[in-house]
């Protein structure tokens, strides 16, 4: 799946969080989105996932529209009374829909996915009993079941210990080898240089987009400092065309 951004602006209350961004995530590419807090990284991801709609411009997705979105954990109801197995089995939505059965074979595959993220034997645990890191790993297991062609991950390694980060990164690299398109919001620049070939440096506007080694160099990173954290109350209307 290819994702094409055409002059995309997404705003809250008319103040842009993502401002006139254009470019494309090629099919099968592995891209990290990085930038300062408030730079619009999560907003852009939500735009691609279809949760937010652009004020201006278009987000086009080419190819079979099968995407999976991993939100920041804080956006989920973690005290919901549900077992880990039931939670990750919602990843079968593309197969089961609202009414279809979860077959024994699916359950077995779900257990395997839990083992892949280091949560063997957690099937019957309440999701409320998981630690923040374990919960994040369970969300990864759900992604494995979703079997999507476009993976959107919002800070997937927050709260995850070093060991688990290593094998979750291995899973992401496996997706890359399987030619899935992966877009991942991250803050750890060394991690990006090491594991992510492509990088989009965002500070509300696109500061740089290309190979990670080139983008994560001082000349590009310097430019993010020009980014102002807040917005001004009396600011003028943006007249820029695409």
């Amino acid at each position: 799946m290819t994702v094409i951004l055409d002059n995309v602006t997404i705003s809250y209350n008319r103040h842009p969080a993502v401002h006139h961004v254009s470019g494309r995530f090629e099919s099968g590419s592995l891209t990290a989105i990085t930038g300062p807090n408030g730079a619009g990284k999560s907003t852009l991801l939500k735009g691609i996932a279809g949760i937010l709609s652009p004020d201006e411009g278009h987000i086009r997705i080419e190819g079979a529209k099968r995407l999976a979105y991993l939100p920041q954990a804080a956006e989920l109801q973690r005290d919901f009374p549900m077992s880990v197995l039931h939670m990750i089995a919602t990843g079968y939505w593309h197969k089961s829909g609202a009414l279809g059965a979860i077959t024994p074979a699916m359950k077995e595959q779900a257990s395997q996915a839990l083992a892949d993220v280091g949560l063997s034997g957690f099937e019957k645990r309440d999701i409320s009993s998981l630690s923040a890191g374990q919960f994040q790993r369970a969300l990864f297991a759900r992604l494995l079941l979703q079997d999507a062609l476009l993976m959107l991950l919002d800070e997937p390694f927050a709260a995850i210990d070093a060991d688990a980060t290593e094998y979750l990164l291995a899973i992401i690299e496996r997706w890359h080898q399987e030619k899935r398109t992966v877009i991942c919001v991250l803050h750890d620049l060394d991690q990006i240089r090491k594991h992510f070939p492509e990088c989009l440096l965002l500070a509300r506007e696109c500061i740089g987009w290309g190979s990670s080694n080139k983008i994560l160099s001082p000349e590009y990173l310097m430019n993010t400092h020009l980014f102002r954290q807040g917005w001004n109350a009396g600011t003028e209307l943006c007249e820029r065309a695409g």
Binding site: A49, G50, L67, P71, F80, P81, S83, T90, W93, A98
Partner: protein, 290 residues
């Protein structure tokens, strides 16, 4: 007085007691699962707002058609759905949260209802609408109550998974292409339907009683959604049975008797329930080895 004459004979001897029991059982069956979802979603008080919102519909129907069950039911349903829809639209399209938008809608609705009744009816009518009378449930209303319970259980079964996914992780639902907002509105419609069904038995003020009290009591006995629903239905039915008996033997009004019994179940569960109760908090059991 034997156990039989105390507990079963009233239902054997009197048709109105049998109808009341059947109606309450249907209300518990249809309403308690919805109550569990309301509580899970922290919407218990929104149920309360909805129950007040149906009042103007009922009283408007009463104004034009008198004490007609069909008219009052349809009127109440229309008002309930209208308020649920208006509040839903405001919640989705503005930054106002669901509790605030519902409060806004129901207060307007309630004030209209009281205004309409006071312009036309007398206080006895108002009492009937506010408090209901389960012992006056006829065959016609019994059919209505059971039909609503059936429809609502089947619909809930069909949207069960969608609702849980939407509430647990709305972003996932959007990305997966499901229409979570529509499911949520449908759920609110079911709540309105069941409140209307309960109002003639328990009145608009207490219609929520058989829906939410068993549900919050059940939260202390199970840690899964389906387990909680099973407990809630059981509590609702037991409370109806006991409440009706108390009402029969001691001449208490039936609606409050049923809701109070459900209230006793709730207080008991808060103190002695299996999960998270006060007893469980103070009398900790020994921890496991790992």
């Amino acid at each position: 007085m034997t156990l039989y004459t105390y507990t079963l004979q009233p239902f054997v001897d009197y048709g109105f007691m049998r109808r009341a029991l059947a109606a309450c059982a249907a209300l518990a069956l249809g309403g308690a699962p919805l109550g569990v979802f309301l509580v899970l979603r922290r919407m218990a008080l929104i149920g309360d707002a909805m129950s007040h919102a149906i009042l103007p519909g009922v009283s408007l129907a009463f104004l034009f058609f008198g004490l007609s069950l069909t008219a009052m039911t349809l009127g109440g349903l229309a008002a309930g759905l209208l308020v649920a829809f208006a509040a839903g639209v405001v919640t989705r399209l503005t930054p106002l949260k669901e509790d605030a938008s519902f409060t806004g809608a129901y207060l307007i609705s309630l004030a209209l209802g009281v205004l309409i009744i006071s312009m036309r009816g007398n206080s006895i009518d108002l009492m009937h609408v506010l408090f209901g009378n389960v012992l006056a449930v006829g065959n016609e209303s019994l059919l209505l109550v059971t039909t609503i319970a059936t429809v609502s259980l089947l619909t809930l079964a069909a949207i069960y998974r969608s609702l849980i996914v939407e509430w647990f992780d709305p972003g996932f639902m959007r990305a997966a292409g499901g229409n979570g907002a529509a499911m949520h509105q449908l759920f609110l419609g079911l709540v309105a339907l069941n409140l209307v069904s309960a109002f003639q038995a328990l009145g608009t003020l207490m219609a929520l009683g058989v829906m939410v009290l068993p549900a919050i009591a059940a939260r202390f006995w199970s840690r899964t959604v389906d387990g909680t629903i099973a407990f809630a239905i059981g509590f609702g039915m037991c409370a109806s049975f006991i409440g009706l008996l108390l009402s029969y033997h001691y001449g208490a009004p039936s609606g409050p008797a049923i809701v109070l019994t459900a209230g006793i179940f709730y207080v008991f569960s808060v103190i002695f329930g299996r999960y998270g109760s006060i007893t469980a908090r103070f009398f900790r059991q020994r921890h496991y080895a790992g």
